[in-house]
Symmetry: C2
DNA sequence: CTCTGTGAAACACTTCACAGCG
DNA sequence: CGCTGTGAAGTGTTTCACAGAG
């Protein structure tokens, strides 16, 4: 029963946030379900992958559940995040406070523009992309926020210096080697998907 | 055979971009597949939802296929997009050139900060959130880039003035009424998912 | 008596493999 | 002969429904 379904992993992160917000001493699957917008059966099934965490007739003890979720998601220690690309999007991400609150630290921003290197953006140092290998111990996850043309090359470099988890915002579909998990978040693609549903959700 | 699976819709948008980039006169399912990183059988199955578009023994006639994809995705006309929230992220989105290229136009940015209203960001006017209903004819899709606290309220307003498609970047899981399609893109959630896989992808 | 945990059924999506068109 | 389009099989995910713990 090990091997958690991918679909479940994506929801565990939501549950973590949902349960944190509920801020009760115990929570039931139904409460979590309505907080994150899925079915109660789904919540129970998902949480069952973490082993027996609940108390029958009562629900889940909040602190215990949060610990289990954080452990499963690898969030026990603070996680370092590198941002590659100091353009508009990279800067916005660097200034986004939400990361720190959730246990992630932006360790540095990488670019190739000599004018930017050595400066600091929202308190984070800007370094040359060439120093990624030297810095690679500092972070576990990288965010690609470069133009599409550069994205493939950046992924290659990241993968070469041992990064296993990449979040790609460049408008290109990246696919790393099998041991590298890449999540592509393309804004245009998202809008196109929405556009599809707009036409059918009857006016 | 109508009713295209959600998973397929998400890929159609990728195919559109992949085929555009290939820029050939005809493309085979195998070519599309390798451009976007899925299996050839998957591409053929997905495209078959659009009806018979290919030519056996040859592949798909590029122009014809692009037209069919754009029609299916509701991208025949230019699509208006409103951005709500003129903070860091909202500004970055406003400056992101990729939208215009793909048939989307940012019509305006909405905020409640009096100091920002009336100014313009990357050429897009900043208006008060209260003017959303009056402007609602201008856009079909809205992007929420506000703090988490405001997001629910904003969704409510958008839905009240007839918006059916919403892309939410605020760190909150929004769920609109059934006739409103909401896509939640939460950066922290994405990082948490990556964090999960980091621990398992054998070092 | 409530709410979890889970077999079993249902459903959704993907892959296989090949008939048959051009 | 190459490549599409698709039944059929396979796999993954969700829902149902209920036994049983607290």
């Amino acid at each position: 029963m090990r091997q958690i379904p991918r679909a479940t992993v994506a929801r565990l992160a939501r549950y973590l946030q949902g349960v944190e917000e509920l801020a009760k001493r115990t929570v039931s699957s139904a409460e979590i379900a309505s907080a994150v917008g899925v079915s109660a059966a789904q919540v129970r099934r998902d949480l069952s992958y973490l082993g027996h965490q609940g108390i029958r007739g009562v629900g889940y003890e909040t602190e215990h559940l949060l610990t289990a979720l954080r452990r499963e998601l690898g969030l026990v220690e603070n996680v370092g995040v590198a941002i590659v690309g100091a353009g508009n999007l990279g800067q916005a991400l660097a200034g986004y406070g939400g990361f720190e609150e959730r246990g992630f630290s932006v360790t540095a921003i990488y670019d190739i523009d000599a004018a930017k290197i050595g400066t600091s953006i929202h308190g984070h140092p800007v370094r040359h992309v060439d120093s990624l290998p030297a810095d690679s111990e500092a972070f576990a996850i990288a965010i690609i926020a470069t133009p599409a043309e550069a994205a493939g090359e950046v992924l290659h470099r990241l993968s070469a210096c041992g990064v296993r988890s990449v979040l790609n915002f460049a408008p290109a579909v990246l696919k790393g080697p099998p041991n590298v998990e890449v999540r592509n978040v393309d804004l245009s693609t998202e809008l196109q998907i929405l556009s599809f549903y707009r036409s059918r959700n009857g006016s």
